[in-house]
């Protein structure tokens, strides 16, 4: 018999707020986490702003042993560790344990492990100094570094998996954790994703000419999803984590329940029918959303809020069209739509988990966060859905069901349906 799966813990490291209280305050008030990066000007990047968390690196000493902290350099691992351990304690669990917890696993994703760690390897090897690399490089350069640090710290003994599906990674990690619990393979899964967009990764996107470059002198206005003046996305860094739990298990231990995961789907458009390495095929996106709704056992009319992928590129209008087709809804008969990226940019693999945490907080606290920088909505979007569906200031309202989707390079899609807990 399949199990119901609930969310019992949240943690976040976001460009506009580190820790749940700061992040909640930021998304309620439309606080931007996009900052000017002087180094990017020096490097002659076209886009010179980024979403960077104000992260207290030394503070990690409160999360891991001094021995483990000494020699830790990979920022993505640091963000992921903090978000995951915050979620774990938020769920009412202790960090210290002598025993392996066989009932709990971890699925955490990232796109690129740590190019700073690899830069160190490359320069040492090229300088014939390989002997000076030491023991801590491999664990930080490997993609499973972040899951290894998290599961090792907490003694997690169920499935420990690192997933990677470009910008669909975060939602996919949550979906995978949900499925394992639903089918009875695990009682709890600590899920999420992390990303540190360093200069090398940033530069590679800059060269693709897909980044916003006209607002370098006004960083907070630079990320403009769904607007006429949307001129590309702003890379961001960060992490978020959720504790997913078998409902019965959560009730038995008296855990606080934030929300229920009703279902979800991940698929690919196969890079056919308009899909490519960099663009999602509409048929794949529509199918992914439709399947999520069907598996969640809800009707499209029940969706109150769409937390979109909506990065501030030409793809925004196609995404809205796909949502409209999949939901068979349009005009003013449409859920609220918002894009977290207007405040924090696009944190690649971390986007799905940060946006899922935002979705759950909106249900928990009864509001729809604003789309900032949407002074000039794209008419090609408002031709499909009503202006009222695109809030530019906070809307206080009951939010019972949220659809959250992300679409990644490789034509990979992931969609989740979150609900308030009923009965």
């Amino acid at each position: 018999m399949s199990k119901r799966v609930v969310v019992t813990g949240l943690g976040v490291v976001s460009p506009n707020g580190v820790g749940i209280p700061d992040f909640l305050n930021a998304i309620q008030n439309g606080v931007s986490g996009i900052r000017f990066m002087p180094m990017y000007e020096e490097l002659k990047f076209s886009c010179q702003v980024a979403g960077m968390p104000l992260f207290d690196w030394e503070g990690l000493k409160n999360y891991i042993s001094e021995v483990s902290f000494y020699g830790l350099k990979a920022r993505g691992i640091g963000y992921g560790l903090q978000a995951a351990l915050d979620a774990w304690t938020d769920a009412g669990n202790a960090i210290e344990s002598d025993e392996t917890d066989w009932d709990t696993g971890c699925i955490f994703g990232n796109s690129i492990a740590d190019t700073e760690a690899m830069k160190n390897v490359i320069s040492r090897v090229d300088n014939k100094e390989v002997k000076k690399l030491g023991s801590r490089v491999v664990e930080q350069a490997m993609n499973s570094g972040v899951t290894s640090y998290i599961s090792g710290r907490l003694g997690l003994g169920n499935k420990v998996i690192t997933n990677s599906a470009a910008c669909a990674t975060g939602t996919q990690a949550i979906l995978m954790g949900y499925e394992y619990i639903k089918h009875g393979y695990a009682k709890r899964m600590l899920v999420g994703s992390t990303e540190h967009v360093d200069t090398y990764v940033f530069g590679a996107f800059d060269s693709m000419r897909v980044l916003s470059r006209k607002f370098n002198d006004q960083p907070e206005r630079a990320s403009r999803p769904m607007s006429v003046t949307a001129g590309g996305f702003i890379p961001g860094s960060g992490s978020a984590a959720l504790v997913l739990e078998d409902l019965d298990y959560a009730i038995a231990r008296g855990a606080k329940i934030y929300a229920e995961v009703l279902g979800g789907s991940t698929n690919s458009g196969g890079q056919r029918g308009g899909g490519s390495m960099t663009a999602p095929a509409p048929a794949g996106v529509i199918r992914c959303i439709e399947e999520s709704i069907r598996l969640a056992g809800i009707k499209p009319e029940q969706i109150d809020l769409i937390s979109g992928h909506l990065t501030a590129t030409l793809a925004d209008k196609f995404e809205i069209q796909n949502w409209s087709t999949a939901l068979k809804r349009a005009g003013d008969d449409f859920p609220f739509v918002n894009s977290m990226k207007s405040m924090i940019g696009h944190s690649l693999s971390a986007a799905g988990s940060i946006e899922s945490v935002a979705a759950i907080l909106q249900m928990e606290h009864g509001f729809v966060h604003p789309n900032i920088n949407l002074e000039d909505p794209n008419p090609e979007i408002t031709n499909i859905i009503g202006n009222n569906c695109l809030p530019t200031t906070i809307i206080k309202t009951d939010v019972n069901i949220v659809a959250k989707a992300n679409f990644g390079f490789g034509d990979v899609n992931s969609c989740l349906i979150f609900s308030k807990i009923n009965n």
Binding site: S65, E66, V67, Y70, G71, K131, K132, G134, S135, R136
Partner: protein, 86 residues
């Protein structure tokens, strides 16, 4: 450098790699790096790299294999510093 001076310096090299500060405070020549200081065996290579840079010496693989307790670390370091046995 006397053996005691090397030992005092070596304690600083070992410090980041052991969580057991009490054991570190009490080290003597017989202290075993893994058994007594609970140092992760993977970190022995980092200790060797740090020692090389601290004393400006090179420690070859065979010598490194001998560095299992504090006394043998001091032997290798003083040898490599060209002081022979002190």
């Amino acid at each position: 450098m006397t053996r005691q001076e090397i030992l005092d310096e070596l304690k600083k090299v070992l410090a980041p790699y052991t969580a057991d500060k009490e054991a570190l405070a009490k080290v003597d020549e017989n202290t075993d790096l893994i058994k007594d200081l609970k140092i992760n065996s993977a970190n022995l290579v980092d200790i060797i790299i740090d020692a090389e840079s601290k004393y400006n010496i090179e420690i070859d693989y065979d010598s490194a294999d001998r560095m299992t307790n504090v006394g043998s670390c001091i032997d290798v370091i003083s040898e490599k510093m060209g002081q022979g046995q002190v």
